[in-house]
Each structure stands twice: as structure tokens, then as C-alpha cells.
């Protein structure tokens, strides 16, 4: 499954980079994130509860920021496993300054397997899109909330 898109963030690439590497920001933005524990540099262990309506499950996950080239590029590596299935994704991300803000481009692939993939196949791509949207909406709120917190 392709995971690709583009987002405009109202922050400079440097600020966006810092936010995307801040465990507190990630924990607040990742939909369904119940816990995020640092596991060495740029790597986190997390507990997730994701799904839609009554079809939701708990997943143990691992997120890693690979090949960082601050503040312009990195690859987000995600693995998650639960009783209902697994998810593995490698998503190269680029940050480009444009005017006052930053354009974030992501273009990677995700693999979903197990029970959820067999039964929920029709909805996985759409649900992935919704979860990605929720992440960036939450990130935009974090960016908007920033001046108040400094």
C-alpha cells in the first residue's frame, strides 16, 4: 500500500524538524498513542490503540527515525504488532522551506497483514488516510499552540 502525500506546515524546516523529533509532540500527535518510550537515539517503543468504530485493537510498536539529514530529510520506520495483525512501514520524508512555512512530502509504502488485512482490506487504505490526516491536524495544533508555551 502506498502512503504518500504533502502537507504545508506553518513553521520553518528547523522548527518542524525539532517538533517531529520531540517525543512529547509525537506522543500527542500519533492517533491512538497510549505510551511512547524512548529507546535510544531517534527510536521509540510505543503502545497504540488504533481502529475505527468497534473494530479497534491494541498494538505494540516500534518507531525509528532512520537516515536523518537535519533539517531536510529522514525515513520513518514503523513496526506494530497486535493480536489482530501487523503493520510495517518505511516512509521517506522530506522537508522543504517555502516562504515562512515548510512543505512536508512523504512517499513510502506500508504493509498490513494478519487478520485485520484479510477482513478489513476494503477499508485499510481509507483508514490509513484518515489516521495520517489526524496526525497532521494534531501537529498543526501543536505548531499553533507553540507561542503560548514559550
Amino acid at each position: 500500500m502506498d502512503v504518500k502525500g504533502q502537507e504545508s506546515l506553518p513553521a520553518s524546516p528547523g522548527e518542524a524538524w525539532d517538533l517531529l523529533n520531540d517525543p512529547a509532540v509525537l506522543a500527542a500527535c500519533i492517533p491512538g498513542c497510549k505510551a511512547l518510550h524512548p529507546e535510544g537515539k531517534g527510536a521509540y517503543r510505543m503502545e497504540l490503540e488504533i481502529g475505527i468504530a468497534a473494530v479497534k485493537g491494541r498494538y505494540q510498536g516500534h518507531v525509528e527515525i532512520r537516515d536523518p539529514l537535519a533539517p531536510t530529510a529522514y525515513t520513518l520506520h514503523i513496526e506494530a504488532q497486535g493480536a489482530q495483525g501487523f503493520l510495517a512501514a518505511d516512509i521517506p520524508i522530506r522537508l522543504e522551506g517555502r516562504g515562512e512555512g515548510t512543505v512536508l512530502t512523504y512517499d513510502g509504502t506500508a504493509e498490513v497483514g494478519g487478520l485485520i488485512a484479510g477482513v478489513g482490506q476494503r477499508m485499510i487504505a481509507g483508514v490509513a488516510r484518515i489516521i495520517t490526516r489526524q496526525f497532521f491536524d494534531a501537529l498543526a495544533r501543536q505548531i499553533a499552540a507553540r507561542p503560548a508555551s514559550t
Binding site: 500500500m1 475505527i52 468504530a53 468497534a54 477482513v119 478489513g120 482490506q121 476494503r122 481509507g126
Partner: protein, 290 residues
């Protein structure tokens, strides 16, 4: 396969069902026909703490005429609608759609209101509700309310129903004069979920122009999709504008790819089925055999 443990309640009234849902605080599911819920439970994709089985509620399976609308209660099974003279004459779009749901065994048990509350965007009844902008009668802590279909379907399997609300009926407008309907869908095997489905209702002026067009698609979005661009083409330009309406359908949808069909195929199929549905509905509106 066995479900994860859950508590079970079989209330004797909707008021009691609603109270049980409110007390459960969001982790309960209503069981009607169970044709979607029970597989999800058995595969443990859904693990509610409480199942509220409404099948013991007396007198909640009727299909009646209510003003200019047909009211279908929560325990009316698909087969009842399929074989109801009232539905066939007043909401023929629904009768045609219901006949295409799954298999006989599923239609004998599954309910129309349950299909609407489950909100699978590829299912037939939600598409009909969207095309006709039917209403869902909902009972909550504050009493009963009606939610139009345009506000009811939120996203995949998600509706405007609050956790403490139970859907008690659906209401669909009766067929206006000089109106024809068609429900067409394509599935790779008989009884499978459709890849794409189209619900269409066309109302004519006495001179043959189109007074109103209603088109909704299943399987192209996270909710049933109302093809308003295509409707505008038909109403403003008449039946000669079917190619433009088909182009509008393909333009305004944004389907997803999955193992069953890539997005481009769904987009193409949506146009093919929309064209077929518009022609059949228009012929029926003119009183010709489809």
C-alpha cells in the same frame, strides 16, 4: 472462532436498551440481525464489553406508511422489505437494493436499520438512504430525534449515533409521480460485497425534462457518496447529458485501491454503472419496461 467474553442483555424496550447503552459508557454494541456484528465478534476484531440484544423487543419489526414516508422499524429484516408491497410500490429503489444484499440467509436475518447503523460504505441500504436523503430515528438520553442521511454517515463504520443512542427506525420518502428508480451494482461473485453500487432516482417533468435527479454511489468513498455534480448535469441539461453526468461522476469521486480493485477500475466502473442506472431509472419514470 469464538468471541472475546462479553456481558449480554436482552431488554424488552428501546428505552431500556438506551439506558443500558448509557450505563455501559461507550463500550457496548447493539445486536439486531448480527450479520455484520457477529463475524466481527467471532474474529475478535470487535471486543465490546456489553452486547445489547434488541431482538426481544416486541412489535418493532413493522413497515408502515407514515405521512408521505415509509417507516421501517429496527427489527424489520431485509426479506420483509424485499417482499413488502408497500416498499415495492412506495420505495422501489429500496426494494431493488435489498434484493441484492448477500444471500437469502443473510436477508432473512439481517435488518435494514442495522445495515444503516453499521455504516459500511459499500453496503446497499446506506446508499439508498443517501440517494433519497432518508432519515434515521434515534433514541438517546434526551429523547428521540431524526437525523438526515446527509448528516448520519461520518466515515467507515462510523455514524452520528452517540454511544448512548440506539437507532429505532429509518424513514424514506415515498416515490413522487413520474419518477423511476434503479439500483445497480457489480460484485465478482453473486452475494459478495459489491465493488461499486449505484442508487438512482429520476423524476421527470410532463414535457420529458428532468425535474430531479438523485444519485448515490457505494464503494467509492468512506461514506455513501452523493454525486451532486452528475445530478446538476442531468437536471440542467436533460437526458441528453448522460455522458456529461457520467464524466461528472468519475470526476467527483476519489476511490481507494485495495486487493479487490484498483482505484482507476472503481472510477471506470462507477461511470459504467451510473450510466446504466440513469437509463433504467429514466425509462421507468416514463412508464416503460426497464
Amino acid at each position: 472462532m469464538k468471541p472475546a467474553p462479553f456481558a449480554y442483555a436482552a431488554p424488552a424496550s428501546f428505552a431500556e436498551a438506551q439506558r443500558l447503552l448509557a450505563e455501559a459508557g461507550g463500550d457496548a454494541k447493539v445486536l439486531a440481525g448480527g450479520q455484520s456484528l457477529v463475524p466481527l465478534l467471532n474474529m475478535r476484531l470487535a471486543r465490546p464489553d456489553l452486547i445489547v440484544d434488541i431482538n426481544r423487543i416486541e412489535g418493532a419489526a413493522t413497515i408502515t406508511e407514515d405521512g408521505g414516508r415509509v417507516r421501517i422499524e429496527a427489527l424489520a429484516r431485509h426479506h420483509m422489505a424485499e417482499s413488502s408491497p408497500l416498499v415495492t410500490s412506495k420505495v422501489p429503489l429500496l426494494a431493488e437494493a435489498v434484493a441484492q444484499i448477500g444471500h437469502v440467509d443473510i436477508r432473512n436475518r439481517g435488518t435494514l436499520v442495522g445495515s444503516v447503523a453499521h455504516a459500511d460504505p459499500v453496503a446497499e441500504i446506506p446508499a439508498v438512504m443517501t440517494a433519497l436523503n432518508g432519515e434515521v430515528e434515534v433514541l438517546g438520553s434526551q429523547g428521540s430525534r431524526l437525523v438526515p442521511a446527509s448528516e448520519f454517515f461520518v466515515t467507515y463504520l462510523t455514524t452520528a449515533l452517540a454511544p448512548d443512542e440506539v437507532a429505532t427506525a429509518i424513514l424514506l420518502p415515498a416515490l413522487p409521480p413520474m419518477t423511476g428508480t434503479a439500483f445497480v451494482e457489480f460484485a465478482r461473485r453473486h452475494g459478495d460485497f459489491a465493488i461499486v453500487g449505484v442508487a438512482c432516482q429520476i423524476s421527470l417533468h410532463p414535457d420529458g425534462g428532468i425535474r430531479e435527479a438523485r444519485i448515490a454511489l457505494a464503494g467509492v468513498s468512506d461514506t455513501p457518496f452523493r454525486a451532486r455534480g452528475a445530478e446538476v448535469e442531468l437536471v440542467s441539461r436533460g437526458l441528453g447529458a448522460v455522458p456529461e453526468a457520467v464524466a461528472a461522476v468519475r470526476e467527483e469521486i476519489d476511490p481507494e485501491s485495495d486487493i479487490h480493485a484498483p482505484a482507476d477500475y472503481r472510477r471506470h466502473l462507477a461511470g459504467v454503472l451510473a450510466k446504466r442506472a440513469i437509463h433504467v431509472a429514466a425509462r421507468r419514470a416514463r412508464g416503460e419496461a426497464a
